[in-house]
């Protein structure tokens, strides 16, 4: 009873793994057939990696200690009928409509193909012929060669990484970040160039921020503070350049002013 439960559980796990494998195989085939002109090697590698990962998990499930030896189980068809079986259709997604004499031998076979059987026999006789010692030696040398290769590859990777990646890394410039944030927060470096907040005496040529300021020198005009009573026609709506703050005004204002409009109730 416990064994039955184990069997069922392991069967379920196996089923889900196989289903996953089937899905990824299907999507890979689809990709190859339909997008072959746009396919890139990394994408193919991805699919292969996915498949190999799934095969791995499948293997692990099979080797799991709770999995009973499937070898000891035998599948015997109980009923063969040439009629369509709806249940079977559903479970196999329409691929096996009939559980009949033709289908069963194919699906339930356990004996490998004759060629495969031949090759297996060949391999086993070869292996037996070499003898245990020689076999061990061969195994060891194979392992050594593999580890050498791995070392070489990882060394290469490490060396190239440290060298190659640095120049590409700069995707942002912190100084720019600060400049942009200052511009948005209080207008540093923007059209008015007025030093922010309480204005100390500032030189007429001083931009005030380390930003890219090109060609703006032609726009500077120093506006004297003592011109608060200029009334000039206000441009419609948007185009308003603020000329001078009423009251405190060192000569540090550089704006290209088209209209300086003072509010009658100046503070």
């Amino acid at each position: 009873q416990r064994e039955e439960k184990q069997l069922e559980a392991s069967l379920d796990a196996l089923l889900s793994q196989v289903a996953d494998l089937k899905n990824s195989l299907g999507s890979f085939i689809y990709k190859l057939e339909n997008e072959y002109d746009r396919l890139t090697w990394p994408s193919v590698l991805d699919s292969f990696a996915l498949l190999s990962g799934q095969l791995n998990t499948l293997n692990k499930v099979l080797k799991h200690e709770k999995t009973p030896l499937f070898r000891n189980q035998v599948i015997i068809p109980l009923v063969l009928s040439p009629d369509r079986d709806e249940d079977l259709m559903r479970q196999t997604e329409g691929r096996v409509p009939v559980f009949s004499h033709e289908v069963v031998p194919d699906h339930l076979r356990t004996k490998p193909d004759p060629e495969v059987e031949e090759q297996e026999k060949q391999l086993t006789t070869d292996a037996a012929r070499i003898g245990a010692d020689a076999a061990q030696k061969q195994i060891q040398s194979l392992n050594k060669m593999c580890s050498n290769l791995l070392e070489k590859i990882s060394k290469e990777e490490r060396e190239s990484e440290s060298g190659g990646l640095r120049p590409n890394k700069q995707t942002f410039n912190p100084a720019d970040t600060n400049a942009l944030v200052a511009a948005v927060a209080f207008g540093k470096g923007l059209s008015n160039w007025r030093p922010s907040g309480s204005s100390g005496p500032s030189q007429p040529g001083q931009p005030g921020a380390g930003t890219v300021l090109a060609g703006a020198s032609g726009l500077q005009q120093v506006q004297m503070a003592g011109a608060p009573n200029q009334q000039q026609p206000m441009l419609s709506g948007v185009q308003m350049a603020q000329a001078g703050q009423p009251g405190k005004m060192p000569s540090g204002i550089k704006t290209n002013i088209k209209s300086a409009s003072m509010h009658p109730y100046q503070r």
Partner: protein
Amino acid sequence: MEAPPVTMMPVTGGTINMMEYLLQGSVLDHSLESLIHRLRGLCDNMEPETFVDHEMVFLLKGQQASPFVLRARRSLDRAGAPWHLRYLGQPEMGDKNRHALVRNCVDIATSENLTDFLMEMGFRMDHEFVARGHLFRKGIMKIVVYKIFRILVPGNTDNTEALSLSYLVELSVVAPAGQDMVSDDMRNFAEQLKPLVHLEKIDPKRLM
């Protein structure tokens, strides 16, 4: 225009205190494409929205030292879109472990005579700029990538020049006060944009 139409912004009538949580960073021009692609993958699936906005910042100088700041924005590429008026308070300094800059925020859409109105009220325009860029949304988070252009001739929004070789990237959320888990979500999202952009809490007062 801050592209979310007014219906998406929370209505601030009444006593709901809305706070804006903000993270900022920048990206160099040549990396903009990769950033846009990454954002398109990360953010809600919608048509990539570009915008061109003209923002003017108005100051009202009172007897106190610090002037009152209002920001007026209008869209240069969307005809008929309403103007936007925004107040942003001082960043809250209760630091704790808050990962984003938090400040009080009041937002409203207005009609087109906004500047006249503000001038009549006594505001003076402090500075203006044109912002041109892309807008993305993820849930309540808004990600804006834009380039700031300085206006050379005041009032002439065609004659502009870029302020720097970078685009400013802002991640912002407008939420009722007290929802600090919002900043955690923002920080997680910001992690996904590294190493392209480093979004962080930048205190504007430090840059004065």
